[in-house]
């Protein structure tokens, strides 16, 4: 019986796991989720529900530290995104320049496509 050489073996295309590839790209508009889970979360209240623009996808992907902090992380990773939000959108009556902005890194599970 002849063996197929590795080069001749046909492989099915690799299918990436959920969350392996970034869900958002730079330039996309996103909304920060409005959720209030009990615990130590790294999404300040003042950005929840706000619209922002993805400025950068942060590599490499990271574990969900909200889960990790409670010892629940199973090892799967997703991306952080650097999101830009104008300060005028965050603070009513903000007196500074409309170009002043916030840059914040938000984990993928907190971002919604708009």
């Amino acid at each position: 019986m002849s063996k197929a050489s590795p080069a001749a073996t046909a492989f099915a295309p690799i299918v990436e796991a959920d969350g392996e590839a970034p869900a958002f790209a730079a330039g996309e508009c996103v909304r920060i989720s409005v959720r209030f889970p009990v615990g130590h979360y790294r999404v300040p209240h003042y950005i929840r529900g706000k619209l922002g623009v993805i400025e950068a996808v942060i590599e490499p992907p990271a574990v969900n530290n909200e889960e990790e902090g409670f010892g629940r992380n199973a090892g799967s990773k997703r991306h952080y995104y650097r999101v830009a939000i104008p300060l005028t959108d965050l603070w009513e009556g903000y007196a500074g320049s409309p170009r002043d902005g916030l840059r914040i890194e938000v984990f993928e599970t907190w971002l919604e496509r708009v």
Binding site: H40, Y41, R42, P44, Y46, I58, P60, A62, V63, N65, E68, G69, G71, G75, Y80, L87, L90, W91, Y94, G96, S97, D100, G101, L102, R103, I104, E105, V106
Partner: protein
Amino acid sequence: MAPDREIHDGDGHDHDHNHAHDHAGVVGDVMPGYFDIMETAVRELLVEKQLIGASEIRRQIEVLDSRTPALGAKVVARAWVDPSFRARLLADGRAACEELGITFYDDTGLIVLENTDKIHNLIVCTLCSCYPRPVLGLPPDWYKLKPYRRAPSSSRARCWPSLARSFRTTSKFALATRPRRSAIWSCPNGPKGPRASVRSSSSLWSPAMP
């Protein structure tokens, strides 16, 4: 010569303060607070159960004590005079610091943000007291206080709440899994040129201009 007076041979002067007399012992005059007691209790338990040793604690204190804003100033000054270093620093802060012998004792990365004539970056700790300790040492206490955390509501700057981002994939200590962000700090593009000194850690992350 008075009996309590001591003259060293050969150094040509006398020392008018010696320790032939007693000083009052150093005692704490404030009762430890809740978190002081908690920290002591947890530390003693960890040592007692042999999960960590007293020498490891002392070593880590020595590590932290050896990190000061002077290291950050060295990095900034180098970036001012060496454009290729500056480019590497902005691309990968940790690797560039390591070039200068500044080691990172854990798995955190370092993101460096460059101030320009038009953009002043302000790094704000949001929730978890993340701070580039390998490069700057311990943060000033006010860095973690609420008035400073509220800075994004009033500062005229590009604000970067510094959120924890863990690069760890495994960890053996629950405390160690506290995700630490890597640190962001600014590389002031100072008008004074490479000889300008960076006066305080504040200018490195950076409510103050150097």
